[in-house]
Every structure is written in C-alpha cells, then in structure tokens.
C-alpha cells in the first residue's frame, strides 16, 4: 500500500481519455503517485480506453478489450481517486478549486486539463434528425450499431481519415455506404491530388460511393423525425448539386477542442478555440496545465495520440519539477494507417511546402500504388512523403526523415519498384542510429528496444510490446519493431525455433508442408525422412491429424491407429474411469423423433447416462470399450453418423431456428447449417472446429463465438471467423459480408484449409489468428484477394476432403479388423471389473476411487 499523508499535494486531472490516462500512468510509473494525491474526473461511464482502435469495437472487440488500464483495479491499487461518470463544470482559479456536476468542490495544487475534443457538427438544418451520429465514444458506436439494424443506406459527411474509417465501419455493418466531402479530394490533410485520386479509386472499388465537392445544405426529415434524405450544393458555384436518400448520417467533419472550462476560467485561448499552452504545457495560469486535443500550442491543435502522449510526459515533468524537464516543441504529424484495406502513409512535409524542395513521385495505376517523396534542395535529405496502396517502406522512410539519414545517390530509387535482379535499395533498420525514435507514441528508441531484446531475451514482438510499450499506441511502428527483432536476433546468431518435440526439428506447419509436398502417407515414412527416435504422444497425434487432413484415410487403418490420441483411438471420448461417451452427429441440431427414440432406447439398453450437450446434441456416457460397436450398430440404423466429439475435427455447426419458423429470420439458418456441417464433417484440423449459423442479427446461434460463424442478412450471409468460447472467449471477425451460400462455402473452404496448413498443434483458430501478422486484412488478402496465389490449391484440397468423406463409425463397425480393436481384454470376454457405477438422480455415474477402495481387492490386483 502506499503511504499517503494529508500533507501530499493534490493534482486533479480533468478528463480520463487517452492523454489523461497517460499522465496518470506516467505518474505511477515514476512513483510520483506516492507523493501526490492524484484525482481524476472521467465524464464517460468508463475509464480510459483506446480511442484509436475504436472501430475495432464493431469488429467484436469489447469495451474491456479496448481499456487502456492493465487491470480494472489499476487505479485503485495505486491510490488514484476516480470520479467516474462525473464532469467538472467550473474552475475557480483564484480559490484553486473545481466544482463537479454533482456539486462537489475539490481543491487542487495543480490542475491538468485533458478534456480532448468533440466532433464538429456543421450547422445544417435537420442535423437533429433521428439517425444522425458522431463517431467519438463507445456510446456513439453502440447507438450507431442499434440504428444500423434498421438501416440500408449510410452516409459519412467528411472524407478525412476518421470519415473513411467510419465509412469502413458502415460498410462492414452491411449498409450501402457513401462519403460526402466538401473538398476536391479525400484526406486533404494527409495526401496530395495524385494520392487522393488513387485513394478514391481504391475506395470506390470497395463499393463505397465517394461524392467530392459537395456541401450538405439540408437534412430532410420524415414525419416521425427520422432522416429521409439530404440535399447538396456545390461549394464553388453555390448551386444545388443533387440529393441522396439515406437512413443514417455520421458527421466526421473535423474536431473542435473541448475548451469550455478554459473559457469559463478565463484562461488565454486561441482565436478559434483551444487552450493556449507553452513549452511546458502550462496555460496562462501557472498552476493549470492543458494536454492532448484541448491544448493549443503555437496556434495548433494536435489531433493525434502521439503528440498528446508526449504532452502528458512533459506535464508530469513540469509539475514534479524534474531537473531538465522535457519540453513540447511541436510534433511530427506523420501517420500510417489502413483505411478500408487501403494502406495510406503520410509523413513530414507531405505537400512539399518547403521552399526549393524537389518532388519525386511514382504512380502505378494498375497496381493502384502511389508514392511521393519530398526531398531537400540538395536531394540529400528526405523532408516528407506520401505512400498509398503500399506502405511497406513507411517505417524506414519516416525514420530517414526524422534522423536526417543521408540519402543514396538516386533517392527516387527508394520508391521505384526494384528493377529485376537488382538488390532492393531500401536502407534497413540497421542504418538507423540507436537514438532513433521507433515508437513515437511511447517515445521508445531503437537503442531501448535492442537492449530489451538483448538483456531480457525477448523473442516475440508481443514481448517487446509488453516490456517497452513500443507498438502499443497507434500501432504504426509494429513492422519496424518486428524488423528490429529479426535483425537483432540475427546479429546474435539466434534462430527462433518452434520444434514440435524431440523427434522432429520442425514446426507443425513445416511438417504439414513436408507431408503434402513429399506425398508422405505414413508416420513411419515421415519419421524416416525427417525425424529421429520412435515418436511420442506429442508428434504422433499431430502427424496423425496432418495425415488425416491431407490424405483423409480412415484413422484406424493399421498404419494410423498407433498415432491416434486417446479419444480418436476408440472413436469416442474416454472418461475418467476408462469408459467412453458416445456423441452422434446432429447436424444443425435438427433431429427426428425416430432418432430421439433410438437414443433413448440405446441409453436404456446399455444403461448409459444421458445428457444434452452444450453443442446441441446428446451425449451418452458410461459405455465400455467393447460396447461401442454394438451401440453404434443401432445408431447407424436410424441414420446417425459419428459426431467426432472425440476428434480435433469439426464438432458442431450450431443453428438457430431461422426463417422457417422464427418471425425475425431472414434466411433458412437450419438448412444452411446442415449443409455446412455436412460439408465439413470428418475434417481433421490442428484443434477442434465449431461453426454456427444464425438466421438474423439477433444471433441466437452465437455464431460470433465460433471458429466460423455465419449470420444471415437480407442479402445473404455475413461470414465471421476465428471466434472462440471456452477458456479465453474471443469474438469472431467479419471476413466478408452479404455472401451467397456458395461464396460463403468457398471462403470457409479456403479459410479452414489455410488454418490447417499453417496453425500450430492444438492451436484454435482464435489463437492462430492472434498471431497472424496483419490480422483480418491479411486473412482477406489470402482467402479473398489470393495474394499468396494458393486459393486454387486450397479449393482443390478441400474438394478432395469433402469427396473422400466416410462415416468413421460405419467403417469401423463394418470392417472386421477395425472392429476387433474394440475389446476389453485380448484373452477374455469378461468385462473390466474395476468399472463400477453408482446411481445418482436416476442415472449412473462412475464411482470415485474412494468409493471403490473398500472392495478394491476383490476387483483387481496389481
């Protein structure tokens, strides 16, 4: 616990947004919270969260995922006083007090304004219509999401960075999406006309309609106050310029500082708003500081998080009177982002405003790539640049600019595609000095990262992130961090190994390729070529699974049976007493009365415990190994097939009742779930696979918690991938929207096969996804845009698996040499006497050892 005393000074931080949190976090990191009473007012209903990644809320991230606090109790643990959901309404700078919306009056020694900004809504008639939104807080997004369920068309006013991000969100919600921009190009701040044109083309090719040179003149409402349409005028001619029917409008026309407290307290303000601060982030009142988007430095508002974070550190230095405090002297506004799948980067003097500068640009309208460099008059230094379509060079170019690295003789080569045979000219991370700031959000240098890799033996980017914080802000430096890691490890002579076990010096992914490319069909052949020893319980099931998902032979073939893990070995789930459970497949949860009767009959006949599973089917427990073929014989008769509850394989495709019965259903979710389940049944994979199909957005089948989840829309199906229930629940991500059934199956085919090829052993799709460089966009590149050129292979591999499906249990029951393996004893037809059942709630359960112990001598001898 910390030892605060009443004599501690008090600092009040108004606003617990990204920058306010950074201030408190820095106080804590420096131990200053022990000598200060730190108090914060947080107007929003939750503590600081990552606004930069706000859009990922639509992709399934929760408010908790976005939280910036390492743990919910972080502030409490460190003695920070939080006024949650409470707003400061006035400041009395003479009395040095603040008054909150609940009427509390608190004294401060120092006051930090971190109130951020608010989205600017132009004074258009009708802007109060139902369906008008802004895009700033989680609450805004929740409201948009709700409204979108009853909308078809959505318009974003403003074609800047945020506007495009917002358009992408609308598109993903399945709306017909429009962007309306006042100026003659998109992203006026970051890109020039050449880049703007490529950007527009790219964005339009994704189905978003872009309207340039349009000023919204009115939002026309329906009788019940909803948006009906909007009308435009041409900003140059001021003549009417058409109209657009829409259900939803999001304003993204810039931000304005939340400076109302500054005004009220009589602090010096900018002409167009913003609280004036000096190099130490101090306002016109020596005890009041302002940081983040509410602060105006040299007539400029910095609407990005990195400068805000820098201000927060400066403010901590200032109030704690650090010797040689940091100062704020302006900030590089470079940005790199991915907007709707389009990479955009802009850094330094992107527009070429420096007198005498040279401009080199390169446009490839086929590949839709645009690159521009702004060079100093002597062409020796990089002043800025714009990259669109491909920002792979952003990290290094940006660093060359910041560090004034001397450029090679033909600097334009840096942006030209490499001529065939030539070595890439790119100056790699090794060219950067140790003092180069790699992560500007958290001010982490190359030297800091490299020494962390060295001394703390870091091997993964995620470790570097948690150790140094580099890459945990806007994320634009992650690829540089990765390069640094590779480079540093290479210099140390370390190769990162991911060997499966002592028998194979290969990862699962490598083994899968060796099997596929070498056409190896048995464990022995693979071991002979690529392994040592006799194998073990790690590599054997892994290879068994690879063999099954590549060649699809029966897993109890003599050559495969010894590889199978516990449950696969007897095509049933082994229970703690050595008996088994039996789970027949019930595709989509649809089951006939005859099948239900058969389950009951079998359960009664063999005295099995019956339970409805969490996967929409029935589990019968307590079967002895020798009973399994007998039980299955009866189940097969009424059309049951193996449910693969025992396998790292497709389990269930859960469905809701859908349009057939449900008043809200928009597609036949049961029918499609059955189709999907039947397509992938029997497919073996690195870990189990589960699917779901919901008939509408209410999502009764919980498809977004499945490895692949399908949600019906008016126009088809939205496909989500890589969700997980279980130990660490994770929402699935939208892979594609409004698909036909056939298109949906094609994407699932490719997604699953790609996962099967590349995942580690026992890695569910969610965990695999979390390690995937480039995330969902990369996955889209692979399975939709075919960037790796493997889609045809993936398609045919899945077609092969589907075509060679056999019901494992039918084959096992009908093939004598397989059936023979299901026996209790090799030399006796007795039953295993150590299996003892006890009755509970009218059914059986296996006795615990303590219950058997008194009689154990009668049952066995060891």
């Amino acid at each position: 616990m910390n030892s605060k005393t009443d004599s501690n000074k008090t600092v009040i931080v108004i606003g617990n947004g990204m920058v306010g949190h950074k201030f408190i976090d820095t106080m804590i990191a420096r131990g200053e919270h022990l000598s200060w009473n730190v108090v914060t007012f947080c107007e929003e209903p939750r503590l600081a969260y990552d606004r930069v990644y706000l859009s990922s809320f639509f992709a399934g991230k929760t408010a908790e995922d976005l939280s910036l606090l390492p743990r919910p109790t972080f502030y409490a643990e460190n003695g920070i006083t939080v006024h949650l959901g409470s707003k400061v309404v006035s400041i009395d700078k003479a009395a040095k007090t603040v008054t909150s919306s609940t009427g509390e009056v608190l004294s401060y020694d120092k006051l930090v304004l971190a109130t951020g900004s608010f989205p600017f809504v132009p004074p258009v008639t009708g802007r109060d219509a139902t369906g008008c939104f802004v895009y700033r807080t989680i609450e805004d997004l929740v409201a948009m999401q709700r409204h979108a369920t009853t909308s078809k068309v959505g318009v974003v006013i403003g074609g800047g960075l945020l506007g495009l991000e917002c358009a992408s969100a609308l598109k993903n919600m399945g709306l017909e999406t429009h962007v309306v921009e006042f100026a003659s190009r998109l992203m006026t701040v970051q890109v020039d006309d050449g880049g703007g044109a490529i950007l527009k083309r790219k964005i339009e090719s994704m189905g978003v309609k872009v309207h340039l040179n349009r000023n919204t003149s009115e939002i026309v409402k329906t009788a019940d106050g909803r948006i009906d349409k909007m009308t435009f005028i041409d900003p140059v001619t001021q003549k009417p310029a058409g109209e657009l029917k829409t259900d939803m409008i999001v304003f993204s026309a810039g931000i304005r500082p939340r400076d109302e407290l500054g005004k009220q307290a009589g602090l010096a303000m900018g002409e167009r708003g913003g609280i004036n601060v000096d190099d130490h982030c101090v306002t016109s009142d020596a005890d009041i500081l302002a940081i983040g988007e509410c602060a105006l430095y040299k007539n400029r508002i910095y609407g990005l998080v990195a400068p805000g974070y820098h201000m927060a550190t400066v403010a901590v230095d200032t109030i704690t009177k650090k010797p040689e405090p940091l100062t704020f002297t302006g900030f590089d506004m470079s940005t790199k982002l991915k907007l709707m799948g389009v990479d955009v980067g802009s850094f330094g003097d992107a527009m070429g405003a420096t007198p005498g500068c040279h401009i080199a640009s390169f446009t490839d309208s086929n590949a839709e790539v645009y690159r521009k460099l702004v060079l100093s008059a002597d062409r020796k230094q990089l002043l800025g640049g714009v990259l669109i379509g491909d920002t792979s060079a952003y990290g290094s170019l940006h660093q060359f600019m910041l560090n004034r690295v001397a450029l090679p003789a033909n600097p334009e080569d840096l942006i030209l595609p490499a001529r065939s045979g030539a070595k890439p000219t790119g100056l790699g991370v090794e060219c950067l000095p140790d003092s180069a700031t790699i992560c500007s959000c958290h001010n982490v240098t190359k030297g800091t990262i490299c020494s962390a890799i060295d001394t703390r033996e870091l091997r993964e980017v995620s470790d570097i992130k948690s150790c140094t914080k580099a890459g945990t802000g806007c994320g634009s430096c992650v690829s540089l961090v990765k390069d640094l890691l590779k480079d540093t490890l290479k210099k140390k002579g370390i190769t990162v190994v991911n060997h499966l076990c002592e028998h194979f010096a290969h990862s699962r992914q490598e083994l899968a390729s060796l099997v596929r490319l070498g056409k190896l069909k048995t464990f022995d052949a693979l071991l002979a070529k690529h392994g040592t020893g006799e194998g073990c319980e790690i590599c054997k099931p892994t290879v068994g699974s690879i063999m099954a998902s590549t060649w699809n032979e029966h897993i109890l073939e003599t050559k495969h049976a010894p590889l199978q893990d516990t449950n696969d070995r007897f095509l049933a789930n082994m229970q703690r007493d050595g008996t088994y459970s039996v789970v027949p497949r019930v595709p989509g949860g649809e089951i006939t009365a005859d099948q239900l009767i058969c389950l009951g009959t079998v359960a009664k006949k063999y005295n099995l415990y019956s339970k409805i599973t969490g996967g929409q089917r029935v589990d019968l427990f307590g079967a002895r190994v020798e009973q399994l073929p007998l039980i299955w014989e009866e189940l097969l008769k009424v059309g049951f097939e193996s449910g693969h509850a025992y396998g790292k394989a497709l389990r269930t495709v859960k469905s809701c009742v859908g349009s057939t019965w449900c008043r809200y259903g928009v597609q036949d979710s049961v029918g499609f779930a059955i189709k999907v389940e039947n397509r992938y049944k029997g497919l073996r994979s690195p870990h189990k696979l589960k699917g779901g199909v919901s008939g509408c957005a209410r999502e009764c089948a919980e498809a977004q918690s499945k490895d692949f989840g399908i949600i019906a829309t008016e126009n088809g199906y939205n496909l989500y991938v890589c969700g997980n229930g279980g130990m660490k629940p994770q929402h699935a991500q939208l892979l594609a929207a409004d698909l036909t059934e056939a298109a949906c199956l094609t994407l699932i085919d490719r997604f699953l096969m790609f996962y099967i090829r590349t995942a580690d052993r026992l890695e569910r799709t969610a965990t695999w996804f979390n390690k995937l460089d480039g995330g969902i966009d990369y996955l889209k590149d692979v399975v939709i845009a075919d960037k790796l050129g493997i889609c045809a292979e993936l398609d045919s591999e899945m077609a092969q698996i589907v075509a060679t499906y056999q019901d494992e249990w039918r084959t096992a029951v009908e093939t004598p040499e397989k059936r023979r393996q299901f026996r209790a004893f090799i030399n006796s037809s007795d039953q295993d006497p150590t299996i003892v059942m006890i009755e509970e709630r009218g059914q059986i359960r296996p006795a615990f050892f303590e219950e058997k112990a008194p009689n154990i001598d009668r049952l066995m001898e060891v």
């Binding site: 028998h503 703690r576 090799i826 295993d832 050892f849 001898e861 060891v862």
Partner: protein, 118 residues
C-alpha cells in the same frame, strides 16, 4: 527372446502376435490382474513385447494399454491416455515423476503366441 521366469512364476499365453496392432497395446486379464501388453516395432524393424500393469496410478483407472507408444531418448515408453504421464516400458518407471513406478511383467513369444510370466 526367451527368458526364464523365477521358479515361482508360470507363463500364461494371452494371444497371438498378430492380435496386437504394431506399436499399440492390449489388455490381458490373468486372474484379477490386468496387464497391458505392448507390441513395439522399432524403426529398424526389431520387434519387442512388454508387459506392465494396466492400472494408471494417476488416473486410477485401467487404461495404460490404450496409451501412445513412443520413445524418450533411447527409452521406449508409453504415455497414459488420460493425463499423459509416460512410463518406461522396460522398468515401469514413470518418466515424469521419479517417485512413481508401476509393476512390469516378463513377456516372451513362443510359437507365435505372446506369453506373460506371473
């Protein structure tokens, strides 16, 4: 490989060699005793049989014969199917916990039949 058991032991015939799939096990019942009989065919083609208790002390169930056969270094082993602890096929020593071991039994092949000494 013919070894003679100590005078008090008798050889019990349990099955033919072909009854057990290579590199798997089967359970044999001799009196009240359950024995996991393991048939190992190594990479060089050499064939060996091992007998050990079928009782897994960790799972407290008769399951050892249903485990996966393999090796750790030069030691031939079997992993219990329930919680995956490995046992040395020759000595019954648990390879994950030095304080645990399970009984082993001598085995031999006579005229194509697998026999266990008890």
């Amino acid at each position: 490989m013919i070894t003679s058991p100590s005078p008090t032991l008798t050889w019990h015939t349990v099955c033919t060699v072909g009854d057990i799939t290579p590199n798997t096990g089967a359970a044999a019942l001799i009196g009240k005793r359950q024995i996991a009989v393991i048939r190992v065919v190594d990479r060089a083609g050499g064939e060996k049989f091992y007998g050990l208790s079928n009782w897994c002390p960790f799972a407290q169930a008769m399951v050892i014969s249903r485990g996966i056969v393999g090796s750790k270094g030069d030691i031939p082993k079997i992993a219990s199917p329930i919680y995956k602890q490995s046992f040395d096929l020759k000595s019954g020593q648990c390879l994950d916990d030095p304080s645990v071991s399970i009984p082993t039994y001598q085995t031999r092949v006579a005229d194509g039949f697998i026999q266990i000494a008890l």
